[in-house]
Symmetry: C2
Subunit: 113 residues, 2 copies
DNA sequence: CTGCATCCGATAAGATACTG
DNA sequence: CAGTATCTTATCGGATGCAG
């Protein structure tokens, strides 16, 4: 698939493409408070499998939103944290939260076809 | 898949789930300026197939972000437009645009593995 | 024109078991 | 703990053809 939608700003499209990948927003969100370990994120997102989390973290690292730090302790400790680029997304999450509180009914069944 | 991530706000999760579906953000964005016909949106998003656009519009209609108006002219004219709930997302897009301008390099190849 | 139905291949996600 | 390998299943998206 060649992304050739000329009418829109290329940066905007790329940003949307990035953020609209499943789980990405939720993972970034769960890293906002600070560094987290793999298993912490897993606990925070119980319906996200380890494999997918692993994939996403690698992608997020590759595009510079997440940093992976290895502390050679015993046993080794690995922490994931947001880069400046990643943290710069926080206003977005505030907006989503506000929008959700105004417009989303938590009991109403959402579409998932 | 049962959404049982207890640690996070249910509304927030639903909102993210909604918005992180592929094409949704781009479709909403292209409706921000005003009502559009099916083929207008198609032209704006050349790499989006008619079937997927049709699917997404139905989903967006079902969750109340988009309204579908039929004008029984000859030939019939059908227009899609944002509801208040949909228009309420516009601050979000401003944020994304700002973030993209600061952090996304349009030439750099993005991850799409 | 504006879609919808169907088929089908490509991806993505999930479960489970296993490694350093 | 932090993943990886493998397999199976589910979902997505593109093409085509058809209907109002």
């Amino acid at each position: 698939m060649e992304p050739k939608q000329g009418q829109m700003c290329a940066r905007f499209e790329k940003a949307v493409e990035l953020l609209s990948k499943r789980w990405v927003a939720l993972i970034v969100y769960s890293l906002l408070p600070g560094p987290r370990r793999f298993s912490d994120i897993e606990q925070n997102l119980p319906s996200l499998s380890g494999k997918v989390l692993s994939d996403r973290l690698k992608e997020l690292e590759a595009c510079g939103l997440v940093r992976r730090d290895v502390y050679p302790e015993m046993p080794v400790r690995i922490e994931y944290s947001l880069t400046d680029k990643g943290r710069a997304l926080s206003p977005l999450f505030i907006n989503i939260t506000e929008w959700a509180h105004q417009w989303i009914d938590p009991d109403e069944e959402q579409i998932r076809q």
